[in-house]
């Protein structure tokens, strides 16, 4: 039978793959793509809980509501981040996150 644990392990796997991408990639676009993967992992977890937790439907639906908010915020974040990446590319001719270290102490 499909259980909550299956979804949670899948969510953990997607989240860790996203962490690997964020840490190992050099292009800012690829780092952002990995962040999207992590946000999706969170959504899998929320939706899994909404479907499996032993509560009445009017309480379980909160998981889906939170997933709607996560999707909205990730869309806003993506639009803003790509605008920043475009500006960065125009100013420097590269989107390599390793080269952007002015604020590094």
């Amino acid at each position: 039978m499909l259980e909550l644990t299956h979804l949670q392990v899948l969510s953990a796997a997607l989240f860790s793959i996203g962490i690997y991408g964020v840490l190992a990639r050099r292009s800012a676009v690829l780092v952002l793509i990995s962040i999207e993967l992590m946000l999706n992992a969170v959504n899998v977890n929320l939706i899994g809980l909404a479907a499996f937790v032993d509560r009445p439907p009017e309480t379980r639906v909160f998981g889906q509501v939170l997933a709607v908010f996560v999707i909205t915020i990730s869309a806003a974040e993506l639009g803003l981040a790509f605008a920043i990446i475009l500006r960065l590319f125009r100013n420097r001719g590269s989107v390599n996150v390793d080269d952007i270290g002015e604020l590094k102490w």
Binding site: L4, S16, V68, F69, G79, F82, S94
Partner: protein, 171 residues
Amino acid sequence: MSGPLIAFYVVGATAILASLGVVLVRNVVHAALMLLIALLAVAGIFLLVFAEFLALTQVLIYGGAVTVVTLFAIMLTRTTELRVRLDNRQRPVAAVAAIVVFSLLTATFLASDIPTRATPASVADAASPATSSGFEALGTVLFTQWAIPFEVVSLVLLVALVGAVIFARDA
């Protein structure tokens, strides 16, 4: 093995393999297309646990908008150096961090004692299954109990998009 479980293994394996592709392939465009596969597989998982609205939203927002925006960003930031190295020297550290996070999360999930149901259930009102749907339940809660957070998040989206236009235009 039950039908939903087989479907979950197929869709879940697709999601994980495509995500691995996103972080491992050597071509930026291929990574973006792998992301599309991974996100559509996640939409399939949403369908398996009766989150119809979220599955449709996932296909529309991620499958449509996010992938197109990503491909545009890749196109607009393409450098002249064709064979640029995509990964930095942190790869071993990143792999260790990913494995540690996965182990910790899995251990926590397995140890948690949240009371769960044996089968996934729709969030629709079980009392009147003929007239109620998951869409209706989600919409009702979103526009009554969660109306103020909903309005706030729409304002956040508006401000973020206006900010994006200001950032991206020629100063």
